[in-house]
């Protein structure tokens, strides 16, 4: 039981990851897929940050009166990851908007159908 409790943060990560991945694969709507992608990316945040926490520690801003700090390195990495995530999202949305203008739809199967019609 204690092993499960000690790994609780990993289970949360796991759940978010599965949900995000599921949306990406199962859903046909391009916007929804992008949101799934964003959830999938956020799952990684916890994977990095949670183990950096030390109970009794404080945020890694050095000040008088504190001796234990949580690990700053994961924070830095995840800051970068968040920024990369939003950059990807912006680009993905731009492409989606263009797809909508070009095809008149953002449903995967309808787009594929129109592509097939083009080929003929």
């Amino acid at each position: 039981m204690s092993a499960i409790a000690a790994h609780f943060s990993y289970w949360v990560t796991l759940f978010l990851m599965i949900a995000g991945l599921y949306i990406i694969i199962a859903r046909g709507n391009l916007m929804k897929k992008l949101i799934g992608l964003a959830v999938f990316q956020t799952s990684v945040y916890l994977l990095y940050i949670a183990p950096g926490k030390l109970v009794g520690g404080t945020a890694p801003i050095v000040a008088e009166g504190f001796a234990t700090y949580s690990n700053p390195l994961p924070h830095v990495l995840i800051l970068t990851a968040i920024v990369v995530g939003v950059a990807t999202l912006a680009l993905g949305l731009a492409i989606t908007v263009r797809i909508r203008e070009a095809y008149g739809s953002i449903e995967e199967d309808e787009i594929l159908e129109r592509d097939r019609a083009d080929e003929r």
């Binding site: 991945l21 859903r27 964003a38 950096g52 830095v76 995840i78 800051l79 968040i82 999202l89 731009a94």
Partner: protein, 164 residues
């Protein structure tokens, strides 16, 4: 948080999904504060709940609201995602437990930042110090990623004046 995610999976009105995503981001930010990651929490709140939501709504306005119903074979993706999750679960069992001060991440590399950082860089916020100095090159890369996205969106969405 789990509830909002499940709702996001099920909800077909994209507008609601975006709102749920925004709530989810706020919850995530709260969790991050609890984990002492104040810088990250601030960014997640600004980006997840702020920028992403605005972008999503903006794009939604251009692409239209609801998702067509299509869930013919929901089983395969579910199995696939759970399989990936299972692999990660297997790996995470061997990881050090929560808040274990002897875990490698607390004993290697990081102590130098915490102990020497303020003296070497003169910045007490270690996150800032690591971000801008020790791993400043990553931040340069990150800025370039943002720049790439910006320039890319310009390239994709620039209005074509001469065509009309």
């Amino acid at each position: 948080m789990a509830v909002t995610v499940v709702a996001m999976v099920l909800q077909r009105n994209l507008f609601s999904v975006v709102v749920l995503f925004s709530i989810y981001s706020f919850l995530m930010a709260t969790v991050l504060v609890a984990l002492d990651a104040v810088d990250v929490a601030m960014t997640e709140a600004a980006v997840g709940a702020g920028v992403s939501t605005v972008l999503l709504l903006g794009a939604l306005h251009l692409t239209g609201g609801t998702e067509a119903k299509r869930l013919e074979r929901p089983l395969l993706p579910l199995v696939l995602s759970i399989a990936v999750g299972a692999v990660l679960a297997y790996g995470s069992l061997g990881l050090p437990g929560f808040s274990d001060p002897l875990a490698p991440i607390h004993t290697h590399v990081a102590p130098r930042y915490l102990n020497e950082g303020p003296r070497e860089t003169g910045v007490p916020n270690i996150v800032s110090a690591v971000l801008a100095s020790y791993r400043g090159y990553d931040t340069l890369g990150e800025t370039v990623v943002v720049f790439t996205a910006g320039a890319g969106v310009i390239a994709l969405l620039r209005r074509r004046r001469n065509k009309k």
